[in-house]
């Protein structure tokens, strides 16, 4: 079976010269759920933007379902890879939440009642149905996050890349998110600083630091390695016991 995502020796520098990725190698199988961990500035967001063809690598390759990302394939690949941005303000741009959620599916050709049903369903899944008619820029931080999640879920992508999806959500919303995501039949990459969240949702963890992948192992195993965690500014939160479950 071809990997859902394959990244080969990916390098990238931002226009101001900062090297954010210095040779990333990664393969994620179909239907896997992988947590992408690492300190601030490690290059996690930069990698996520590459998976959707939003940044162009300086060198290296990205393959989605065996298909190399290129000028010709990018439109197709964007339909298959759904990306939730780290900052929901970047993600929401239509006059109302419902229109924003409808934007993606409408681009895929959905119209009328079918479209309405998809929008209602996506909002329901994140528990944000009552936000439908509100303008996104007038929402609270957590409400924006929910709306941003819904816009991507509505496209029903095969691969979901979520950049800190739980941040800003209240604890009940966060749990609901875990349940929703766990129930989806997709390949999942979740960037997070919340190790319990990672443990709950993702059997496998990849740690990035300094623009490279520095560890790749089962999440439970990783969390049992204080040396490795400490080396990459990771640690279990106050009051957390791994033995609990």
């Amino acid at each position: 079976m071809t990997a859902a995502i394959e990244v080969r020796d990916l390098r990238f520098a931002y226009p101001d010269g900062r090297e954010a990725l210095r040779g990333v190698d990664l393969a994620v199988g179909q239907g896997e759920r992988v947590a992408l961990l690492g300190p601030n500035g490690a290059g996690k967001t930069t990698l996520a933007l590459h998976l959707n063809g939003l940044l162009e690598p300086a060198s290296g390759e990205v393959l989605i379902g065996g298909l190399a990302l290129s000028e010709e394939t990018v439109t197709d690949i964007r339909r298959r890879v759904g990306l939730v941005f780290q900052d929901p303000n970047d993600q929401l741009f239509m006059p109302t939440v419902a229109e924003d959620v409808a934007f993606g599916p409408a681009n895929l050709g959905l119209r009328g009642e079918e479209l309405d049903a998809v929008v209602a369903d996506a909002l329901e899944r994140v528990g944000a149905s009552e936000l439908a008619r509100r303008p996104p820029h007038h929402l609270s931080g957590g409400e924006k996050r929910l709306a941003a999640l819904a816009t991507t879920l509505a496209m029903e992508p095969e691969i979901l890349v979520l950049d800190e999806p739980g941040s800003g959500l209240d604890p009940a919303g966060r749990r609901m998110l875990v349940e929703t995501l766990a129930g989806l039949d997709v390949t999942l990459i979740v960037i997070t600083h919340d190790l319990p969240f990672a443990l709950e949702l993702c059997p496998r963890s990849v740690v990035m630091d300094g623009g490279r992948v520095v560890a790749d192992m089962p999440t439970r195993e990783l969390l049992a390695r204080p040396d490795l965690l400490a080396e990459h500014r990771l640690e279990l939160p106050y009051g957390f016991t791994l033995a609990h479950d």
Partner: protein, 254 residues
């Protein structure tokens, strides 16, 4: 310069003008403004006809007079300017008691004021009865190059984004003890305005990324199909056609 958010330009109403097809309305406004512009100022009666036409558009379009007048303030500088012309203009002078004014200048002032008011008024009626995306769609139908329409569309979308960035910036500044009451305190604003440009620019890029990430390929998805009956074209153009006839008579007769 009058601006603000685009939605402040539109009057939410249901009227025959609101319902008319945008391309017909754009064409009508152009025809009307053209007629006004070529009419010699001396043909005062023609301007009377135009004013009646414009006023009836206001009534039919249910545009509140107050709204209309407020939107008109944009031309105020030119009215003030025009009011000066009779005093500084050359040529034959007329004595008005304590001052003397130029006769030619007086007519010129009248012409500038009348044409500016009618021209701006027509544009105001258009956007008061037509939502921005519809006007853009109308322009596209009228064969305005699509690149220009697309730039205009993004520009209007991003205006709100820039206003938003500026609002955030102002709030951030006040929260940290900035009290821009004095001119010398403008320095951080100037320094920040350069950063604001890059910031707005990059925010625009990221929003565009977000759009592309959700399958955007250059055209906003049209959620409702619109049709343009021929009757609507004729109805909308009726007024401006009267104006055009008037203009021709006025030009020939002068």
């Amino acid at each position: 310069m009058g601006a603000g958010h685009a939605h402040a330009l539109y009057v939410h109403e249901h009227s025959p003008i609101h319902a008319a097809s945008p391309e017909a309305k754009v064409a009508a406004v152009l025809l009307f403004v053209l007629s006004v512009a070529i009419t010699p100022p001396l043909q005062a009666w023609a301007f009377g006809v135009y004013a009646v036409l414009l006023a009836s558009a206001l009534v039919v379009g249910r545009i509140p007079l107050r709204f209309f007048l407020l939107r008109l303030v944009g031309i105020l500088p030119f009215i003030l300017l025009a009011l000066m012309v009779p005093f500084v203009g050359s040529g034959e002078r007329i004595d008005l008691g304590w001052v003397s004014v130029s006769r030619e200048g007086l007519w010129a002032a009248w012409g500038i004021i009348a044409k500016a008011t009618l021209g701006a008024g027509a544009a105001i009626v258009l956007v008061a009865t037509t939502e921005v995306p519809a006007v853009l769609a109308g322009l596209r139908t009228l064969k305005v190059p699509s690149v220009l329409v697309a730039i205009a569309g993004f520009m209007i979308r991003y205006l709100e984004l820039i206003a938003d960035e500026m609002g955030r910036m102002r709030q951030a500044m006040t929260a940290r003890g900035h009290d821009p009451r004095w001119l010398w305190q403008a320095r951080p604003i100037a320094s920040a305005s350069g950063a604001l440009f890059v910031r707005a620019y990059e925010r625009g890029e990221r929003v565009h990324s977000a759009m592309m990430a959700r399958g955007y390929t250059g055209e906003m998805p049209v959620l409702e199909e619109r049709e343009t009956p021929v009757a609507s074209w004729l109805a909308v153009l009726a007024g401006p056609m009267v104006a055009a006839v008037v203009a021709v008579i006025a030009v020939v007769g002068s």
